[in-house]
Symmetry: C2
Amino acid sequence: MSRVSIYDTTLRDGSQGEGVNFSLQDKLLLTKRLDEIGVDYIEGGYPLSNPKDFEYFQAVRGLDLKHAKVCAFGMTRRKNTPAETDTCLKALLDAHTPVVTIVGKTWDFHVTEVLGTTLDENCAMIADSVQYCKAQGREVFYDAEHFFDGYRANPEYALRTLKAAAGAGATAVILCDTNGGTMPERVAEVVAIVTRALPCEVGIHCHNDCELAVANSLAAVRAGATQVQGTMNGIGERCGNVDLISVIANLALKYKYDVLKPGSLTRLTETSRYAYELANMNARNGQPFVGQSAFAHKGGMHTHAVAKDPSTYEHITPEAVGNERRILVSELSGHSTILSKTAKYQMNHDKALTTKILHAVQDLENAGYEFEAAEASFDLLVRKVAKDHKPWQVDKSLTLYKPWFERISYRVNIEARANGTPITEGTVRLKVAGVVEHTASEGDGPVNALDGALRRALVRFYPRLEEMQLVDYKVRVVNPKAGTAAKVRVVIESRDGTDVWGTVGVSENIIEASWLALCDAIEFKLFKDVERDQK
Amino acid sequence: MSRVSIYDTTLRDGSQGEGVNFSLQDKLLLTKRLDEIGVDYIEGGYPLSNPKDFEYFQAVRGLDLKHAKVCAFGMTRRKNTPAETDTCLKALLDAHTPVVTIVGKTWDFHVTEVLGTTLDENCAMIADSVQYCKAQGREVFYDAEHFFDGYRANPEYALRTLKAAAGAGATAVILCDTNGGTMPERVAEVVAIVTRALPCEVGIHCHNDCELAVANSLAAVRAGATQVQGTMNGIGERCGNVDLISVIANLALKYKYDVLKPGSLTRLTETSRYAYELANMNARNGQPFVGQSAFAHKGGMHTHAVAKDPSTYEHITPEAVGNERRILVSELSGHSTILSKTAKYQMNHDKALTTKILHAVQDLENAGYEFEAAEASFDLLVRKVAKDHKPWQVDKSLTLYKPWFERISYRVNIEARANGTPITEGTVRLKVAGVVEHTASEGDGPVNALDGALRRALVRFYPRLEEMQLVDYKVRVVNPKAGTAAKVRVVIESRDGTDVWGTVGVSENIIEASWLALCDAIEFKLFKDVERDQK
C-alpha cells in the first residue's frame, strides 16, 4: 500500500468560500480534529493577509499536535526585491511553522501581464523564495498556480518554473488547477510528464468548477502524485476545492492506498459534520459517503431489496465511513418503509396498522410536513395511530400515546419602540395532571418566550425537562410561490445528555408551527425517558 | 461534432431523492421546459407505481412537444408469465409514449437470489419484454441495472443479458452504475468492450455515490456511449443521479460534442433554477456552471485579478451557460470588492468613503449579517454611509439615504386557543411626511400582520408599494451553538413587475429581524423607483 499525503487547506483556501467564516477558536478546534484523524499537513492561513491568521499561528503552537505539520501560506518574493527583505516572506517565517507553502506563477502570460516582470525574474523569484525559507530551516512546498493552463500555453516554461522550485530545495511541487477547468485525462497525462521530469514529490490541488475535482485528484494520484490538497466538505471559492472526504474515501476504499491513520476512516462522517458546524454551514444531505442521505433509501422497491441485502443498493457499507443507513418516510416508500421504521415495535404482523400509519404520513405530507429530519415527530405519530387502533396486540416495547399536558391557550406579545430591543412575553395555559397551570415568561424572541413559559408550567411535574435544550431552529416556506401567506415548516433540533432529536410543525403561522414542534420535542423527551427507565 | 443524446429522468429516478416531490403540474412544466432546450428523451415516470404518473402520461399528450420524446419506465415481465398478460408491461404500453424503457437484471446473483429464477429465464424475460413492446410500435431502450457490478461478477452472463435485449430489437442498451461505486477508468474499459460487442447504441446511467458521476459519464461517452441518462441538478436517491447540467456543459464546452439545440447552452442556468423551484428545493450555491457562487469572487487578490482579466480565475465565461459573475461583499474581500460593487455610483476616486463602507460592512458581518443574498440591504448601507460622508462629491447617480418613514413603535400579538388557527394582530406607529400613522392588520402570521400594517400606513404616501410582494422568507440561526437565545438572520426576497431583491435583518428576536428586513425591502423599492423615474 503506497502512502498518499493529505494536505488540508480548509482554513486558508476553504475560507475563501461564499458564506464561510472561521473564528480563531474554530480554526484551532478544526486543527486539533484534523490532527487526530491523521491529516498530514494543515494549512492554517496566509499570515500576511489578516490579523486572525497571525494570531492562529501563535496559538497553534500551544496545541501539542501528534501527527500533522502546520503550514503557513504565502507568495514568492516581490519582483526585484531580495528575499531577505521581502515582507511576505518575513510574515511567512514569523509564523514559525515547520512547513511553508509558497505559491508562484507558472503561466507565461500571467508573469508578463499580471506580475509585469520577465520570465527569468519569475523563475528567480521562485528559486530565491524557496531557497531562503529552506535556509531558515523550513520544509518548503511550492504551489504552482494555474499550472495546467500555463502548461497548455507554454509547456517548456511551465516546467522550468517547477524545476526552479525543485532545484532550490522544495520537498514537493503542487500542480494547481486553479480555475478548475481541466479534464481528468489531461490531468493524468500532465502529472505523468511532470513526475518523470522532476526529482521531488508531486502534489495535486484541484477546484470543482467542472464537477471533476475528485476525478482529477484520483487521476493525478494514479499518474504519480503523492500529495492531495483540498478542503473538508469541498468548501472553497466558486464551486469549491476538491472535497478531501471523497478523495480519502475513494483512495482508501476503492484503490487501497494508505491514507490518514488506521481506524480514521470510520471518523469521516463525524469529521465532516464537525467541520460544517465550525463553519456554521448547513451540511449537504446528498454529499457522497458522509451525507445524511448517502445511504438513505426511499423507493419502495429499493427499501425492500436493501432490507434483504444491503449490497443491492450500497457500494460500501455505511459503517466503513462512520455513516448509517436510513429508511425514509415518504409518499413514495409505501409499506416496506413503514415496516422498517417501526420494526423495533414488533407491529409488523399487523398490516391494517401499518396501512393506517402510512395514510397518516401521506395526509401530513400533503399538508406540508416532512418527517425526514423529524424522526421524533414520526415516532409520536406512530404512538398516536397505534393508540386508536383496535385490536392492539403489540408487545410492550411501545408506550402508546397519551397527552402529557393539554393546551388551553397561549399568547405571545412583542412590543418594540423606535430603537432598542423589543420586549417579548409569552404566556401559556395548560392542564397538567388535572391541574391548570398558567405561566408567563419573557424571552429573546417569541419562540424563546413560549419555550420558557412551557417549561415553567411543566418542569414541576416532569423535572427531567431541565436536561433538555433546543440546539437548532430552522424555518422554510413550504410553498414560496405564495409569499408570506404560504405555510411555513419549522424544524427544531433538541438535545439532552444522551440524544439529539428532530421535530416538525407546519402552519401558516410561524408561531403556531414553532409551538407544534416545541410540544413534540417535549413529548418525545418524556416518552423516551419512560421507555429507557423501563429497561 | 458527434451527437450525444440527453435522456432526462428527473421525473422518475430524480423523484426518488430525499425531499423531492413533484405535483402533476410541476411535471408537465418541467417537461415543457426540457423540450424547449432540446433534451432528447424525457422519462416521465413509472406508470405502474402511482396514479400521479399515470395521469402525467395522459396529460403530456396534450403538450405539443417540438423535439423531445417522452419515455415510460417499467420492468421486464414477471418470471414465468407471458409478456402479453404482464400487468407492468400493460401499464407501460397504456402510457402511449413513443419510447418505453425497460429495466432488467444483469447480475447473476440478483437473478437467482432476488428474482428467484434461472439465468435463462431472466434472458427470456428481457428478450420477450423488448420484443413485445417493439411489436406494439414502441422504440425500446433497455436499462441494465447494476451492469458494472454484474459485469465484475460474471462478465459473460452480463453481456448475454445485453445481447438478449439488442437481439430482440432494443435501439439502445444503457449501462447503469446503480450503486454509484465504479471508478472512471473501469467505466471506460467496460463501455469500450460493450460497444464493440453489440450492434446497437450504448448509453450510460450513473449515480454520484463516489462523487464521480460526471467523470464516469464523460469517460463512457469518450469510450463510445452515445446516450447519457441523468437528472436536472443531479437530484436523486442517496447522493443523486449524475447532474445533466454539468454533463451537458462539459460535453459541449470542453469536448465539443453536439448536445441539445443550438443556443440552449446559455439557458442552462435558468433551467437549473427552474427545476429547483419546481422541486421546491434550495439551489446549491456552489453547483458547477450554474450555481450562484460558480463565478463569485471573494478574495481581495482574486477580485483584483478578475477585474483585470476574467480568465485568470474563470475557466469559461459565465455567459456561456447563462450565469453571471458576482463580486462578493465580505470581510476577506477588502477594497477592491467594495470598489467593484459601488462602481456604478462613480465614487471610486474617494478612498476615504470606500474605507468607511468597508468598515460598516465588517461591523455588521461581526454582528451576524451577510450581504451575499441581500444586495438591496447593501445598497441601502452604501447610501447611508455616503450621506454622512463629507465632502460628498459623487455624481447624481446615487440618491443619498433619507428615511422614508420613522418607526415610533410596533406590536404583534398572537393568541391561540386549544385548537384552531391562532389570531394574529400587528400594529405599527410610524411618522410619514410629518404625520403620525397608527395602523393595524391581522395576518396569517406575525410577519404577514406586520407587513399588512406597514403597507396600510405607507401606501397612501407611496402608492407604488402596491406593486411589491414578498416572495420568499428564510430564517437561519446565526450561532446554533447557543440555542434559542442565539441570533437569527432573516432574509426576505421581494418582487415587483421588473425586479427581484433580497434584504436581511439580524436580531435575537425573529420578529425584529423580520421587521428590519421588511423595512429594507420597502425602502429599496422606493429608492429604486425614484432613480428609475429620473432616467
